[in-house]
């Protein structure tokens, strides 16, 4: 049960972030922040199915995290979800074609270890 819930938490967050990033990249760089420009961007974004799937992913992750907290301690739940950093970076390399340099990889390792220690 714990592994299943943990998979849902990490999977939901990763899916949510990847789909959101993909939808925003398709929309293009937002450089005008007036109300009219923002409303236009939001309207265009609402037509992209990815953003709705992304919100669904976040919702699944949120409820799965709540359920995980009901069966496991916070000291286990939070550090375990730090694995999302590694998974998300790898998937960003594959699906979003981002360049993961040695420096960025080292940063991912440092942050993941740091989050585990902070939440322990």
């Amino acid at each position: 049960m714990t592994i299943f819930l943990l998979t849902l938490v990490i999977g939901g967050t990763v899916l949510g972030d990847l789909l959101k990033a993909a939808a925003m990249r398709r929309l293009g760089e937002i450089s005008h922040f007036g109300p009219r420009s923002l409303i236009e961007s939001v309207t265009e974004l609402a037509r992209d199915a990815s953003i709705w799937l992304s919100i669904a992913g976040y919702a699944v992750s949120f409820f799965a995290f709540m359920a995980l907290l009901s069966v496991e301690d916070v000291s286990f739940a939070v550090p375990a979800t730090a694995g999302a950093y590694v998974v998300e970076t790898l998937l960003a390399r594959i699906f979003l074609r981002e360049m993961i340099s040695a420096r960025r990889s080292a940063a991912v390792v440092l942050v993941t270890c740091g989050v585990v220690l902070i939440s322990w």
Binding site: K20, A21, Y85, E88, M99, L117
Partner: protein, 194 residues
């Protein structure tokens, strides 16, 4: 009074009517002229030219990342405080969940927390429109450090040595990611081609 007509004006654009070899020079001159005009137009629209644009993007990225970090940390704390006031949910049936949700929304702290998390979602989406997900993910992890330092400084919580070590590692990781480019879109394709 003579009529003002653009069609009546003589065509003053340079035309070549000399030897065959010359048009290449004329085309090259035209190319240089167009390129120069484009650079001048670019400098006229972007204050400070390309450097100005880079500086603007860096400022924009910093501003939105700060909003993401602060709105997320504050939103979670405020929402948590509000939910403590509302009390625990007695039943997880759909009707009870909807009723509890509506009841929770009547609490100003819950409302403020939801508003801050909405701000986090929007700012996060905006910054992702030009920045790498892997970059944003790393830099925003400084939120863990922010929460640890705030809970130590303002709430007087005891922070263990392990937690301080974790804080140091996250800070180092974020600092290291700060030395990587904000966006690497297209770099991988360029590397594949070369």
């Amino acid at each position: 009074m003579a009529p003002l007509s653009r069609e009546a004006e003589p065509d003053r654009s340079p035309r070549w009517s000399g030897p065959l070899l010359q048009p290449a020079t004329a085309t090259f001159r035209e190319f240089l002229f167009r390129r120069g005009a484009r650079i001048l137009a670019c400098r006229a629209t972007i204050p400070g030219g390309i450097r100005g644009r880079r500086r603007d993007t860096a400022l924009k990225t910093t501003g939105f990342l700060l909003t993401v970090i602060v709105a997320n940390a504050l939103g979670n704390v405020v929402l948590g405080y509000g939910m403590e006031q509302v009390g625990s949910i007695a039943s997880y049936s759909p009707a009870e969940l909807i009723y509890s949700g509506l009841q929770a929304m009547a609490n100003p702290w819950v409302l403020a927390g939801v508003g801050l998390l909405l701000l986090f979602f929007i700012a996060h989406a905006i910054v992702l429109s030009w920045a790498d997900l892997s970059y944003v993910l790393l830099v925003t992890s400084i939120g863990y450090v922010l929460v640890a330092v705030l809970s130590w400084g303002f709430l007087g919580e005891q922070i263990s040595e392990t937690r301080w070590a974790g804080t140091l590692l996250v800070t180092l990781g974020v600092a290291l990611s700060g030395f990587t480019p904000v966006s690497t879109v297209g770099e991988l394709e360029a590397e594949d081609e070369s």
